[in-house]
């Protein structure tokens, strides 16, 4: 191993990255992923525009209407209009929810008679509609449980408590998943490009025809993406905790070590991509394809892995994303850290992935034209 040669090659990579302006891409891409998707993906609904038509005007009905007022999920107006007028407003997309409390609502309830509340929800976007439906039902049942005489309660039991993400904030659920996406895509692309660029231009001959060994070449090529993207670990942490206010309950050291291992995995993926591609464009597309899709699906950002079945469950375990995002969600939201044997297992799996990919890559890399 000739350190002088490796250093010279690395120095060249850094100069090249700087002068070709590719260095901007190194930091811009992960930041854009975090910021754009962090603000862009919204699963919850807030400020649903709600009209309550209170035809009863009793203590109970007013109380019920007020339950919708004191929530960030609803922007509620109690209006003395007819249901038809409210419906017209919904048709003009000015209103999301209409709640109609019928006359003699309180009286009927007190008499123990069945009473109906009319709820109309704009479900043009099904997911959004369903979420709003859930909110409305929650509020109504909550209120109902307060008012119903005790003997009626057994029929409705609501005792919910949200754990780990008490505030039910989307950011908390999504941003850690986005870190898993950003730290996989960007290092993989850079590592692949650094090698394929030389193949495309023909400068790869400098390696082929020189006494430079495969190990020296790989160290020189893979260190820059690894080092440069290690900085992104801190940037991502900063964006998550300061910009998106995601809590951080675990150990930073664990987060950092896991992230470094994960960046090594990403660099390994980039190396494999560079072996089977010849042009920079093909390398970029392939690297994106095999990193973005699994990151979205298997980071647990949109759907928990434990809820998956069959094929998708197996696939989730094949991609390294799942292991890292498990550790991410733990360090950000839960904080059990190394006390959990799963975390230790997953950490070792990541280490295995990283070394495995780079070893396979260096075996497949040929110091000759193919």
């Amino acid at each position: 191993m000739r350190l002088g040669a490796i250093r010279a090659y690395m120095l060249k990579e850094f100069i090249d990255l700087k002068r070709s302006k590719m260095i901007y891409l190194v930091y811009l891409l992960p930041i854009m992923i975090l910021i754009l998707f962090g603000y862009g993906i919204r699963l919850e609904v807030t400020h649903a525009r709600t009209i309550v038509i209170d035809q009863d005007n009793s203590k109970l009905s007013i109380d019920l209407a007020h339950a919708f007022m004191h929530s960030k999920y609803f922007d509620t107006k109690i209006l003395p209009i007819t249901p038809d007028e409210a419906l017209a407003s919904m048709k003009r997309a000015k209103t999301d929810i209409i709640i109609i409390i019928p006359p003699s609502f309180e009286k009927n309830l007190l008499k123990g008679l069945k009473s109906e509340i009319g709820v109309f929800i704009d479900a043009s976007f099904p997911l959004r509609g369903r979420v709003m439906q859930g909110y409305v039902q929650g509020v109504l049942l909550n209120k109902a449980s307060e008012y119903l005489p005790p003997q009626k309660i057994p029929l409705i039991l609501i005792n919910q408590r949200l754990l780990f993400n008490q505030a039910m904030r989307d950011e908390n659920a999504i941003v850690p998943g986005l870190i898993a996406l950003a730290l996989l895509v960007a290092p993989a692309i850079l590592a692949a490009l650094l090698i394929v660029k030389e193949k495309e231009y023909g400068t790869i001959f400098n390696f082929y025809a020189s006494p430079l060994s495969k190990a020296e070449f790989l160290i020189a090529k893979l260190t820059p993406p690894f080092v440069l993207h290690s900085v992104n670990i801190f940037i991502a942490f900063f964006i998550a905790t300061y910009i998106f206010d995601v809590p951080f309950r675990g150990s930073f050291a664990l987060f950092w070590v896991a992230s470094e291992l994960y960046v090594a995995v990403a660099v390994g993926i980039g190396l494999l991509v560079s072996i089977i591609t010849r042009t920079q464009i093909a390398a970029t597309v392939l690297a994106m394809l095999i990193t973005i899709i699994p990151s979205f699906l298997y980071s647990g950002m949109l759907m928990p892995i434990s809820a998956m079945e069959g094929g998708s469950y197996i696939e989730a375990h094949l991609f390294p994303v799942m292991y890292y995002s498990y550790i991410l969600y733990d360090t950000f939201l839960i904080g059990q850290g190394l006390q959990s044997s799963t975390i230790i297992l997953y950490l070792s799996i990541l280490a295995l992935y990283g070394t495995g990919l780079i070893l396979i890559g260096s075996k497949l890399l040929k110091k000759e034209l193919s």
Binding site: R2, G4, A5, R7, A8, Y9, L11, K12, I15, D16, R19, S20, Y201, G202, T203, F205, N206, Y208, A209, S210, P211, L212, K367, E368, L369
Partner: protein, 531 residues
């Protein structure tokens, strides 16, 4: 001493070079001459240890049979692959390249040697310039001195001078000559320019994946003498450039052969016949001046690709536009065609002043264009390609079919109509690209580097074809080339150097001015004058 024994390189089923066997001694420059795809690069890559091969290579007593076995020798080998500045990093300066190559090769600092190399290459003053801002010739010289930094014992140069201007080419040779006198070195040097053969100690002629002849230039020329005759009419022979080659005796005196003769003789020995072109005569009415360009200028940012070029193409004339890569030839043709907007200057085509897009549309059907590297669709057969181009010119299907029939017979590629361009030799693709460009019977042809990389016989055939077209159709042709020797076959030549016109004359007049000199040598004078 380098010994190459039965070297064969395969790509899957395709054999790139078969059973190459030759020796090269210390301080010798061995030339590999032949067209693209003849097997030169594969041979050089195998010897450099970057390509798997069969057979054996022995260098100074050490034998190797694979890239892995060649590994211990790599500190003594230097390879400069084909392509302008391919081993250079565009964003690194001259000095940084030196540092990089020194370090990865583990060479100790030797300021005196480094300075000498930089001065030899004329780059001493440009050490801080980035590689992407160097001219083609400078790039090649930098690549060369970078490979010399570690004082290799085996220097392998793959077409270092293709597309490089003649002056830089000469300087490159001077560096090589100096190097081999100063140290023990074996130099392998491939080229597409026959003229460079004179300076080589030994020549290997490559054709279709085989070495067809080897030896000193004089020996090779001597062996061709019995088959070379003065120009005459004959069957079973090839005639080109005032000479005829025949295996059977001809009733005319012998002529002095050039190295090209060996390719013709080899073809004859393989039983090949010259393609006779049949082109139906046609009457065409054209204005006396086809293209008139006045001060045409094209800029890309600060870079002036064409700097106030005046050029006139008369009816029925073959005008050669010569120059190195990056001299502005292609840009000029693209301005004539309207593929690049003209930044400055005036242009008349077929007597009409070009001011707008509409002016060009009317003329499109009078112009034929063949772009660099033949713009063919490789997933369509030759016939489908031709039909497609015919339809683009809105010819009726019946006419297209008739034309394809006539041209494929006349230009000698009828048997390949249902094949795909990728499976055919370049010479065939070149002819059928030309057929495609003349399908709609244009009165003027713009040909961009049609002969680049094509083998000797196909090139000879192509020039004959152009002259035949000119005679039968009175067609006017503007053709670009980086082969200075092809000036011989033009009616008039214009030479561009870094965007400026440095020559505009007839070959006859140039020969009168510089008697006994080749065009290569003539143009070097002009390059020097404008330095």
């Amino acid at each position: 001493m380098l010994e190459v024994k039965n070297l064969t390189v395969r790509y899957g089923k395709k054999i790139a070079i078969k059973n190459a066997t030759f020796n090269a001694h210390n301080k010798e420059i061995v030339g590999l001459i032949g067209a693209d795809g003849a097997g030169k690069s594969s041979t050089l890559h195998a010897i450099a240890g970057v390509q798997r091969f069969e057979g054996e290579v022995v260098f100074n007593g050490y034998a190797y049979h694979s890239p892995a076995e060649a590994e211990p020798l790599k500190s003594q080998i230097a390879l400069m692959p084909q392509g302008l500045g391919l081993v250079l990093y565009p964003d690194l300066s001259v000095k940084e390249h030196f540092e990089f190559f020194k370090r990865i090769r583990g060479v100790k600092d030797d300021p005196a040697y480094e300075e000498r190399l930089l001065k030899m290459a004329g780059l001493y003053k440009f050490q801080d310039r980035l590689a992407k801002n160097l001219s083609g010739g400078m790039k090649q010289k930098l690549s060369l001195i970078c490979t010399l930094l570690h004082r290799p014992k085996l220097l392998i140069l793959d077409e270092p001078t293709t597309g490089v201007d003649p002056l830089s080419r000469r300087e490159l040779w001077e560096i090589l000559d100096e190097t081999r006198h100063a140290q023990d070195i074996v130099i392998l040097y491939s080229t597409a320019y026959m003229q460079e053969a004179q300076q080589m100690d030994k020549i290997l002629l490559f054709d279709e994946g085989e070495i067809i002849a080897q030896g000193k230039a004089e020996e090779l020329l001597k062996s061709a003498e019995p088959y070379t005759y003065e120009e005459t009419s004959c069957d079973e022979c090839f005639c080109f450039d005032k000479r005829c080659y025949s295996l059977k005796p001809l009733p005319v005196p012998h002529a002095k052969p050039t190295l090209e003769a060996l390719f013709f003789i080899n073809a004859l020995k393989k039983g090949k016949k010259e393609t006779r072109f049949q082109i139906k005569p046609k009457k065409v009415q054209t204005p006396p001046i086809i293209v008139e360009a006045k001060g045409l200028t094209k800029r890309f940012g600060d870079f002036v690709a064409d700097d106030h070029i005046d050029l006139t193409l008369h009816a029925g004339e073959i005008l050669g536009l010569l120059g190195a890569n990056g001299a502005g030839k292609t840009t000029f043709i693209k301005m004539l065609l309207g593929l690049y907007p003209i930044d400055e200057g005036e242009l008349w085509l077929l007597g009409k002043k070009i001011e707008s897009y509409e002016d060009r549309i009317e003329l499109k059907n009078y112009i034929g264009y063949m772009s660099q590297n033949f713009a063919l669709y490789k997933d369509m057969t030759i016939k489908e390609n031709m039909e497609y181009f015919g339809k683009l010119h809105e010819l009726p299907s019946k006419t297209i079919a008739q034309k394809i029939e006539e041209l494929s017979q006349g230009l000698g590629f009828a048997e390949y109509l249902d094949e795909f361009p990728t499976s055919l030799p370049m010479g065939i693709n070149q002819r059928f690209s030309l057929a495609t460009a003349i399908l709609h019977e244009p009165v003027v042809l713009f040909l961009d580097e049609p002969t680049s990389g094509v083998d000797t016989i196909a090139r000879a055939g192509f020039w004959k074809l152009l002259h035949e077209l000119k005679r039968k159709w009175r067609i006017s042709i503007l053709i670009t080339t980086h082969y200075m020797s092809e000036a011989e076959y033009c009616d008039r030549v214009v030479v561009l150097k870094e965007g400026k016109k440095i020559v505009d004359d007839t070959p006859q007049h140039l020969h009168e001015l510089y008697p006994g000199l080749s065009f290569e040598e003539i143009f070097i004078n002009f390059y020097k004058e404008t330095k």
